[in-house]
């Protein structure tokens, strides 16, 4: 998926574009100076899917989105959005897309309503006759009706974020591109966004949503891609991503040092505990659970909880993008 060799790529780009895809990139490259922010990305976002776009900070998610929307020119590769070649057909494709890119951007000296009027008037296909009604409906949909007349400089972070989502919903869309839509939202807002995304998806709208919040993605997406250092390292349905045959052991213990040593004896490498829980990939799924437990007990680790389960999205994410906390580039 990631290391497409040159030959297979040529074959790929010569095959007919897939009409069932809302977004399709082939060998997409975006370079900033010497840095490859996006490196040979082949995205395939099926129509009607809720597609999670995952990746650590600086992995190139926003940059990819900017190129998809024609804000930045690709250094190489091809992009098709809603079946149209980009950026040639930008003017006819963009009205069919609603987007939130790298946080909201508004005029602080205008009210929420006035801001949406302003941005709506930029869209030549948006009818001025229905503008007031559409703005009102969009504000209602994100729960901002009561703050609609307030100047945006008096909005909180989450209110601005909601206004940004309202802007994406001003017109009926075929594709929504949401870059970290739940950033800064309260739990109610996060739930609302989730419900909103589900209801949009139920209407047949494709939603492409980037996030770091894996539980979010797990709760609302049907498909996902994981980016790391400018490349896509995994892509597919959520089940495909999780179903890797990998089995994890989870241990609740206060003696994580002892437990780690005991696990190491069995050839199991455990990381550091998260929320009092040790989690480790079983290199050999046939190791019997009781073997592990007795090894732990023999080593003097107090085992207060024990479980063996399949990979979560978080396991996959960490396995794919690395444990390290430092930004990669």
């Amino acid at each position: 998926m990631t290391s497409t060799i040159a030959a297979s790529e040529t074959v790929e780009s010569m095959t007919a574009p897939d009409a069932a895809l809302a977004i399709e990139t082939r060998g997409l490259v975006k370079r900033f100076g010497t840095q490859l922010a996006v490196n040979d990305v082949n995205l395939s976002v099926p129509r009607g899917s809720v597609f999670g776009f995952l990746g650590p900070n600086g992995s190139g998610k926003t940059t990819t989105i900017r190129v998809l929307l024609g804000l930045a020119a690709a250094t190489g590769g091809s992009v098709r959005v809603l079946g149209e070649e980009m950026p040639d057909r930008l003017a006819s494709v963009l009205p069919r897309i609603g987007a939130l890119v790298e946080g909201p951007g508004f005029y602080p000296f205008l009210s929420g309503t006035a801001n949406l009027h302003r941005l709506d008037s930029a869209d030549r296909f948006a009818s001025p006759a229905t503008r007031t009604a559409r703005v009102k409906a969009a504000l209602e949909r994100v729960g901002l009706s009561h703050a609609a007349g307030k100047k945006v400089h008096a909005y909180s972070l989450g209110m601005k974020q909601r206004l940004g989502i309202a802007n994406a919903l001003l017109m009926p869309r075929e594709l929504l591109v949401l870059d970290e839509p739940t950033n800064g939202l309260d739990p109610q807002g996060t739930r609302e966004v989730r419900t909103l995304v589900r209801s949009l998806a139920a209407d047949g709208i494709t939603v492409f949503v980037s996030s770091h919040l894996l539980d979010e993605i797990e709760l609302m997406c049907t498909h996902a891609a994981v980016m790391s250092v400018g490349r896509i390292v995994a892509q597919g349905t959520l089940d495909e991503l999780r179903r890797t045959g990998e089995v994890y052991v989870r241990i609740i213990t206060p003696d994580d040092d002892l437990a780690r040593a005991a696990l190491a004896e069995l050839g199991i490498a455990a990381g550091y505990p998260v929320g009092g829980r040790l989690s480790a990939l079983l290199p050999d799924p046939s190791i019997a659970p009781e073997t592990i437990v007795s090894a732990l007990v023999a080593a003097g680790a107090r085992v207060r909880g024990f479980d063996i389960e399949g990979a979560t999205l978080e396991d996959r994410f960490v396995a794919l993008t690395g444990e390290g906390f430092d930004v990669a580039q």
């Binding site: 790298e102 951007g105 030549r124």
Partner: protein, 293 residues
């Protein structure tokens, strides 16, 4: 290099030849509303309105008659005829105050939207890059018009209120009635308005180069000052006809009998040249620019 050719081939992302639609003029209307409802714009217009008022007060309150040789031309005539207040106020505003306000408005056009983060949302609306530039330039031109009109109209009102008004003696010595004089003042105001259009185009271009609006504003104002200094250096005579400020003070030609439109025409042509050149540069730059703010 093939990668480069790919990126230049994609560098003009859209043309503005999309289907005409009923809402084509909405963006311009919205631009004008945002521009003229903004506190900063209103403050600048207020400051421009204060110029004729300050001049009138200075003349009223000064005890002795100033000799004609000192101070700006026309100043000594104001106390005889209030309509000369308009000419004096425009003459004083043109080199500095008007370019200052236009630097602010023109420098803010693209860089201001970029720094607010609204530029990306306008572009994905989609406003169309070239359409957005045209609308932005129209906004600055509208500000030039309103700014000049504010100086001229307050000048007229204050002149009528504070000073005697009668038949006006032109620079050529002929006298004309008030109706004709008002006509001449409108021509002078149009001349000043047209004079500002070249600088506006420069400001628009500078604004596409940065995401820091204050930088673009300052650079535009500095341009206007530098060009006027160059225009004042006799050693650079060969350059003078090409400087956008070259004809600025020639509006006096409109106050002679018979009236001469030669400098009006030359000025308009020069400003048009600036609009074409810097408009093309702005389009060339902005159409291919990565919007990363």
């Amino acid at each position: 290099m093939s990668l480069n050719s790919v990126s230049t081939a994609r560098s003009v992302p859209e043309t503005d030849t999309g289907p005409a639609s009923p809402s084509g003029g909405s963006l311009l209307r919205s631009e004008l509303i945002v521009l003229f409802r903004r506190g900063r714009t209103l403050a600048m217009l207020g400051a421009l309105a204060a110029i004729p008022i300050m001049i009138a007060l200075a003349i009223k309150l000064s005890p002795a008659k100033l000799s004609a040789a000192k101070g700006p031309p026309f100043l000594d005539q104001v106390s005889n005829n209030g309509l000369f207040l308009v000419v004096t106020a425009l003459l004083i505003s043109l080199p500095l105050f008007l370019p200052l306000t236009i630097g602010v408005v023109a420098g803010d056009t693209i860089a201001g939207e970029a720094s607010l983060g609204t530029l990306r949302y306008l572009l994905i609306a989609p406003a169309g890059r070239i359409r957005l530039l045209l609308v932005k330039y129209a906004g600055v031109a509208a500000f030039c018009f309103v700014g000049t009109a504010v100086v001229a109209i307050t000048g007229t009102l204050v002149g009528l209120a504070f000073f005697p008004v009668g038949r006006v003696t032109l620079l050529s010595g002929d006298t004309v009635g008030i109706g004709e004089a008002i006509g001449r003042l409108s021509l002078v105001s149009s001349f000043v308005f047209v004079s500002l259009l070249g600088l506006s185009a420069i400001g628009l271009f500078i604004s596409t180069l940065t995401v820091v609006p204050v930088g673009a504003m300052a650079a535009t104002v500095v341009m206007s000052v530098v060009v006027q200094i160059l225009d004042a250096l006799p050693q650079l005579g060969w350059l003078h006809p090409w400087l956008f400020s070259h004809y600025w003070i020639d509006f006096a030609d409109l106050l002679r009998q018979p009236i001469s439109f030669a400098s009006f025409g030359e000025n308009a042509l020069l400003q048009l040249g600036y609009i074409v050149v810097f408009g093309a540069l702005a389009i060339g730059r902005f159409a291919s620019k990565d919007v990363l703010s």
